[in-house]
Each structure stands twice: as structure tokens, then as C-alpha cells.
């Protein structure tokens, strides 16, 4: 990767991809350590970014530290490329790093995401960067950093299962639907960021490198390619993925994560893919198939 400023005329006073090289090196060191210890939260000296904490500064710093001029960047928020925050972050890198951007999952070398993993399987030449609000999976069970660090160090994860036990005792099933805790490479329990648990299986043995940046909480963690990522559960209450009762109203996909869209004030609604790129691709495919069928009918 080359960190030279591509063109001096834009933002002369800012370095390529905004961060100075010293900071980037510091972040890269943290990333390397994170990759070496899958699922372990590496503290790093998070910097102020020109967007607020909690709006993806962790992900932006990770992206800024690893992006090069040859990269093609995709940014999604809630699975969509055109949500406001995704637009804003994409514009930020288009401006400060002058990199190519794309909305197509397959064409991106670097994907920054908030709350979703793309439906299309990622490949080993891609990196997925997650924006993380609260990196500590034990935080809401134990508020103290000093204590949670000890629990990770000593692999004391009983408390995590206490939470799941309570869910089942109260609701008959595990009532955690997003930020569903996982165990990485058989060692560290990790928060996958607030992605729906629907996406958890995609993390397991994923071909792409997955990096997690939490700016405000100053932590970076990683799942290297081809790593086991197991969702915590009980033998008699195994982890289950959310199933949708109907297919996407736009592309007809089954087995994709759907958003509920309210159509009017009478409570009518429809369900559509949250991954907008995937949805468009499926719609094109559907149209093509319809075309093919029509053609065949016409000629037969």
C-alpha cells in the first residue's frame, strides 16, 4: 500500500486518507496484534476523527490505516449503500484518499460496514471493516473494564451463559437477536458488533479478513480468514438463525435479511432486502430470467 498523497490540490493540509502516517502505523500495529490473537480486543490510541464518536470513527480509523490508492471501497450502513452515514463516510474517503468507490460487493476490495454483513459471500482478497459501538461482550453483565479484562484473560465466560440461561428461562428461547456473542478460534468471546444474529454464520470460516474498530472505546479486534466463529448456545437450545416468513417483496429472495417497510398510516407493510446491492442484483437476475422465459415461449 502506498500512502503518498495522490493529488496535492485537494485538502493540501491533510494526509492521504486523513490520518498522519505515525497514527496509521500505530493503528496497523494494533491490527496486526489483533489478527495474531483472534477475538482479543487490542487497545489503541483512538484519535478524534472529523465525524462524531459513535458514528463509525473506529471503522474509519481502521479503514484509513489500511486503505491504499488501488483499493475500491464500499461503505454500507444497515446493509444499504445509500443511507446517510454510509454516504457520508464514502464521501470522506473519496475526498481524502481519492479512491474508487463502489456499491457492488463483488467489486470492492475494502468494505466498511455498520450492522450488517453483505449477503454475497466474501472472498479472500477482500477485507470487511466493522464499526463497533461497544466492543466488550461482557459489558452489560459486568461494567468494569478491569474485571472484564480479567475474565477474558482467565477465560471465565460462565456469566455469558447465565445471560443465555435467563433468556431461555424467561422466554423459552434465547432472546438475543443482534450483537449475539461468539467464540472465536475456540478462545475469546467476542461481540460481533450489532449485526443481527442472522449474519453470525457468515463470520465462521469467512474467506475475507474481518477487522473491528471501536473508536470511542479505543479497541481493535479481528477475525483472520478461515477462522472458526461459533455462536454461543446450549446443546438443547442450539443457536438458530432468524427466518423470515415471506420472501423479499422486491426481488423475491428467500434467505436474505429483510427490513420491514411501513407503507401507509394503516399499518400496511412490506419486507425488502436490507442489503440493497444484493437486492438489485437479484432483481436484475429475475428480470433476465423472465426475459429468457419469454424468449423461449416466443420461439417454441
Amino acid at each position: 500500500m502506498n500512502d503518498e498523497v495522490g493529488d496535492g490540490e485537494v485538502l493540501a493540509s491533510y494526509n492521504f486518507a486523513y490520518l498522519d502516517e505515525q497514527t496509521k502505523r500505530m493503528i496497523r500495529r494494533a491490527i496486526l496484534k489483533a489478527i495474531a490473537i483472534p477475538g482479543y480486543q487490542v487497545p489503541f490510541a483512538s484519535r478524534e476523527m472529523p465525524m462524531p464518536y459513535g458514528w463509525g470513527t473506529g471503522g474509519v480509523q481502521v479503514t484509513a490505516a489500511i486503505i491504499g490508492p488501488e483499493d475500491t471501497l464500499k461503505v454500507i450502513d444497515q446493509g444499504a449503500d445509500d443511507t446517510t452515514n454510509a454516504v457520508s463516510i464514502r464521501a470522506f474517503f473519496a475526498k481524502t484518499a481519492r479512491v474508487k468507490t463502489t456499491m457492488q460487493t463483488g467489486k470492492a476490495t475494502l468494505i466498511q460496514t455498520r450492522h450488517r454483513i453483505p449477503e454475497e459471500a466474501l472472498t479472500n482478497d477482500q477485507i470487511l471493516v466493522y464499526q463497533v459501538p461497544i466492543p466488550e461482550p461482557l459489558r452489560f453483565l459486568e461494567p468494569r473494564e478491569t474485571e472484564t479484562r480479567k475474565m477474558h484473560g482467565l477465560e471465565e465466560y460462565g456469566l455469558m451463559h447465565v445471560k443465555l440461561y435467563e433468556d431461555i428461562a424467561k422466554n423459552g428461547h434465547i432472546a438475543t437477536t443482534y450483537a449475539y456473542p461468539v467464540k472465536v478460534a475456540g478462545r475469546y468471546v467476542m461481540d460481533p458488533s450489532p449485526t443481527p444474529k442472522f449474519d453470525n454464520p457468515k463470520m465462521n470460516q469467512c474467506e475475507a479478513l474481518q477487522l473491528f474498530g471501536a473508536g470511542r472505546e479505543k479497541r481493535i479486534y479481528a477475525v483472520p480468514p478461515y477462522t472458526n466463529v461459533v455462536s454461543l448456545d446450549f446443546e438443547d437450545h442450539p443457536f438458530e438463525v432468524t427466518k423470515f416468513e415471506e420472501p423479499c417483496a422486491l426481488c423475491g429472495s428467500e434467505g436474505a435479511y429483510l427490513d420491514e417497510v411501513i407503507l401507509d398510516d394503516k399499518g400496511h407493510k412490506m419486507f425488502v432486502c436490507s442489503d440493497t446491492d444484493y437486492c438489485e442484483k437479484q432483481q436484475r437476475k429475475k428480470m433476465q430470467n423472465l426475459g429468457e422465459e419469454a424468449k423461449q415461449r416466443a420461439f417454441s
Partner: protein, 382 residues
Amino acid sequence: MYVAVKGGERAIANAHKLLAERRRGKRSVAALGLEQIVEQLSLAVDRVMNEGSLYDRHLAALAIKQARGDLIEAIFLLRAYRTTLPKLGYSTPVKTENMLIERRISATYKDLPGGQILGPTFDYTHRLLDPALAGEEAVFSLEEGPISPNNFVRVSDILAQEGLIEEDGRLNGAKPNDITKEPLDFPMGRDTRLQALARGDEGFLLALGYSTQRGYARTHPFAGEIRIGEVEVEYFIPELGYVVIIGRIQITECQMVNQFSGSAKVPPQFTRGYGLVFGQSERKAMSVALCDRALRANELGEDIVAPAQDEEFVIAHSDNVQATGFVEHLKLPHYVDFQSELDLVRTMRRDFEKAKDAVRSTACGLHEKQEKQKTGEVSSER
């Protein structure tokens, strides 16, 4: 309808245009100049420099103007700028004993060498709105005496001569930790803590300091000394082999003197709470000093019973740039996680209704049986 949640680039661009418009306000009113802000809103400038961790009045004024007077937003602007600056080195510790004093008071001594100097303070003003300020102000000029070049001895040094107060803290290593370069790590040294407090939110630290006075970790503080004035910033240049003065800044220093009963190793003596901030920011310096002292509970073997003594609680929540970001991020779309929760609540409600129905039908069954016995009729209704 579907578009409503997807903002898109145009919506953002339009919003920013409108923001610029509102910031400027009515065109018939003259635009604020940075000099006006620097000169006439100087305490706002001081706060922004402090919590923005950058001593530059003009940039702070620019940030205030750009932020439409929203000081936390201005602090954020300044921080985001600061983070991109190269970090060249560390000055030598400023010598506050050599301060060119503009204000200096002590609550612990009636009089002391150098005297009490009130300086430009709101203290003892009657808080009556002054209509004279509403229009053009009458110009008057103050015959300012030269600032006394005396080296005012610090109150803490007077106490230290008798051994009545603990010594100044010493650094653990050769140089202080730098919270802008190293991740915060709990528990932390006092040097790190003081840095974090110096850029902490004034309101938050004020409330915590206040809580210690009201009995949540009471430390019996006395304002040993508050001094405001200018100090020289010195920098050691290794190539030259000596120290050069690279500038002069205005700071506020507060030394709180607190009771301490002593321990097995240490005789009873006063302890210190310390606050040092940019500009004239007395409230902030005092709050920092109160919090600093409260946060030394562990070091001094005191019981940790109150929020102000809890290092993780105080330091992790004192940064207003972090706090405002995370609170305001709730405005970002969360419909993917919300969808998961919607689903869950629906499932749970279904289960709940099913259970209720089951109970109701059993109850109805009993009821019906009784009715039947009484009337000999069978009700068809459930």
C-alpha cells in the same frame, strides 16, 4: 416512502446548505469577526481551547463561530483538527511559581506574601443584567498598572516548608504518559488522569466536584490557591543543548488543600488536589482539583464509596466529544437491529397470548361446568 429512510447524497448536501444559511442568520446583521469572539467572548474561547486540547485563540474562535456558539461542537471541531497535527515534542514543565499573576487568591490565609489579587473576576459582582451593554458600549479605558513581576510564593510551598502538606506528586517514569498517543488503560497513573480531567467536560466535572462537597466522598477541601496569569513555555532542543522559550500562555492553576488523617507510614498532613487548565477557567480548574483529589482514594487508602472516586466511571465518561458522539449516534438508523427486536417482541407476544388463551379456556371450562350444573344448559359461547 421507501426513500424516506435512505438519505442519499442530495439530502445531505441540502441539509448542509441550510445549516450554513442558519449559521449566518439575518444578512442585515454584520457577520461576527474572529477578533470579536477572541476579545469579547474570551471565556468561551478558553473553554474551547481547554476541552479541545489546543492552545490557539483564533482557531477556537473560528470553531465557535462555525459551531454557531455550540461549545461542545466547537470543541469537537478543534479536536478533530488537533489530531491531524504532527506531535513534535513535549515542553518542559511550566513553572507556575514564575507566573505573571493577574489573579491570585487563597482561601486558607488572610494575607500572604504577594497579597490577594482579585483580578478580572465575576466574584462579588451583583448578577444584575446591565442594559448599558445592550447597545453600543461607552468606551472607557482602564489605567492598568503593570502586572507585578514578583514571584509569588505558592501557598502549597508555604505549607510544605512546615511539612504540613504532602509533597508534590512525582512522575513514575521519565516522561508523562500521553493520552493522545497511548490508549487509556485502567487503573491509570495520576499524570494520565490529570490529562484526561484537563480535557474533561466542565459541566460533568463540576457536578462531580460538587457531589464530593455534598458528602459523596467528602474530602474537606480548602481552596489553597487559585492563580491565573501567563507562564512561559519552554522547550529543550537537543540539537542546541539548551532550553528555549517558545511562547507564553495564559493558564489557571488551582491547588486544593484537603484533610487527611494519615496512615501507618505517613503522619497526618494535608493532601493535594490539583487542577491546571488553559486560559481563565477557574470553575474548571477547581472542579478538576476536587475530582483529582477524590480519585486519589485508592492511593491514599480511602474507601471507594462514591462516583467521584471511581476512576473508570469518571474518566470513561468525562470526555464530552465521546459522550456527545455516542448519545447522538442514536439518531443514526438502527432499523436492522430494531427489526430483530420487532421480530422477537412479536414472537414473545404470540407466546404470551397463547398462554393466556390456554388459561382462559381452562377457566372458561370450569365456569361452564358450574353453569351447567346450575342451569342444566350448555353455553355455546366461549
